[in-house]
Symmetry: C2
Subunit: 331 residues, 2 copies
DNA sequence: TTGAAAGCGCTAACAG
DNA sequence: CTGTTAGCGCTTTCAA
């Protein structure tokens, strides 16, 4: 089947290709009867405009690139959902890229993105290197980063202030007399853990104390669970244990129980990134509802603004808030 | 910053644009010193070939479209990961589309895909309508569907035979004297549940019995959990309860426990789609390890074959297998 | 209101 | 080995 083009439609409708172009782009100037004539020809031939050719002529692709970490967490999925939903509204397509291990990886992706001439890019990545961004900005490609607070002329950001989140929570605990807080490391999300650690350290410093219970997972342990099992069996006690992901919270739950510790009576447990699985655990795990879907949606919305608005978009740093969801693992 | 093109490079290197084109495409015929000269010009100007223009000239975009359901399950994420990893190997880009509610949705996506002139498409969707596929095949776009067994000249498929999986498992149970099997409905995955139900019915029929314990979740219940809580409290007993997703298995686990039933002693529990959360539950839930990542990877591999091989690809229907992972919820 | 023609940036014969 | 040129399919002045 010969790929049918605008020329074919023009011939069929007995008009020039310019006219066909006008009707597919909804130009006002076309006379009604010729518009109908062209429409009919389009229907008859099953013509679909070639977006590639349009992209070339228009110097814009109406597609944006999305970079996410390889890990397929529910959280990431929700961000993607949010982003796609609003992208759909503004007729943007999504080119999906994932960062896998290997130093050069990110560079390849960036290179690829530049070549594909997307109109903008959204980056969600724990370990974000500013130098890599610079490449993109050099090519004048508008960027929105999710998760890190940063912005300048071509980059905007949408994020949740985890440091503040944990700071506030820690302050509340300290005021309630719970001063033995512990944070479990998450090897997969180092940057996030750093934010949490910073927040805790600040809270303790502001309270005239020092945060010391950072539970690092030694490299020789294949999983947090394995280490925590040993850790808990040491008859360890903390007032509150804080984990980043649900799976770590569950590991704490299970290992504590196995060690004869009762949660929340002997020790409280809170998970930063809440998930439905937290609610399925027994006891149910308390957590912070992070607006994952909104992170994606707002990021895309911000990007469309940066893409369309003539004058600089003013508010390019958007902080989203969270809600603490108390369940049964905290008192 | 003026967008720099192949012409700029040509002028800078003092050659024709054809030569530049040759070097960026790695043509063998270029003399070494001019190749170097061109390379230098490219570096100096920071030139990146415009993939859109290439696509237009070449009549191929080296991008494929991926359609997945909105739901951001871990399973879907893994499929995407697998697909992207092999897409990367073959230098294909991924255009991601999600099907949200609304009848016309899928049609919009198809329309969009046709316009974007992707080289092929991979579809993973529970509720797949063959008529929609026909649109794509009309435009000669190669398709690979994940999850449904089907194929013809332009469509291939990669799937796991869930009906067989559950059939075999049911037969094993029946032979062991466990004849009271129950299947929990999953409103979000009707087609999948149908496969499972078919398999069970066949197993029972082949054993001279009738499968009757299909646990439908009435619409008025917001979640499986809510209904199961009531169901279990009715002093119900089955030999084995089968669920599709981990969250349903956990709901069974929790509601059974709350009703005073012991798993696996009073009742066994098995989850079709295994996940890490199954291993985190207590007791740990037995499940079938479905090769999610491979589903994506193999689908993409198949598509590249269909895209490059001159002669018809012979094996366009690929069945992947599963492994039963016995844990603590089964005896 | 419509048509002619010049690009958009690149590839691929075809000549030389 | 390299340059010339004709597209790829569409948009957009500029004229008519």
């Amino acid at each position: 089947m010969k790929r049918i083009t605008i020329y074919d439609v023009a011939k069929e409708a007995d008009v020039s290709l310019a006219t066909v172009s006008r009707v597919i782009n909804g130009s006002e100037v076309v006379r009604e009867d010729t518009r109908v004539k062209v429409q009919e020809a389009i229907e008859k031939l099953g013509y679909k405009p070639n977006a590639i050719a349009q992209g070339l002529a228009l110097q814009k692709t109406t597609t944006i690139a999305l970079i996410v970490p390889e890990a397929s967490y529910f959280y990431t999925g929700q961000i993607i959902n949010g982003l796609i939903d609003v992208a759909k509204i503004y007729k943007y397509n999504i080119m999906l890229h994932t960062t896998t291990e290997g130093i050069s990886e990110m560079n390849d992706i960036i290179e690829n993105i530049i070549k594909s001439r997307v109109d903008g890019v959204v980056i969600f990545n724990d370990k974000l290197n500013k130098d890599e961004l610079k490449q993109l900005t050099n090519y004048q490609i508008p960027i929105v980063v999710i998760g890190n607070k940063m912005s300048d002329d071509t980059v905007g950001s949408v994020y949740v202030d985890y440091a503040k989140l944990v700071y506030d929570y820690a302050m509340k605990c300290i005021k309630a007399g719970k001063t033995d807080l512990a944070l479990v490391e998450d090897r997969k999300n180092p940057a996030m853990i750093k934010q949490l650690k910073d927040g805790l350290e600040r809270a303790f410093a502001d309270s005239g104390m020092k945060f010391e219970n950072y539970i690092a997972i030694p490299k020789e342990y294949r999983s947090s669970y394995l280490f925590l099992k040993e850790y808990m069996s040491g008859n360890i006690h903390h007032d509150v244990i804080i984990t980043y992901r649900d799976s770590q919270a569950m590991a704490v739950l299970n290992t504590a129980k196995e060690a004869g510790l009762s949660i929340p009576d002997d020790m409280e447990l809170v998970c930063i990134l809440d998930s439905k699985y937290n609610a399925m655990a027994r006891p149910q795990i308390s957590g912070f509802k992070i607006p994952d879907y909104d992170l994606g949606a707002v990021a895309m919305r911000l990007l469309t603004k940066m893409l369309t608005e003539e004058n600089e978009v003013m508010d390019k740093e958007i902080e989203l808030s969270y809600i603490f969801t108390p369940r049964k693992s905290t008192k």
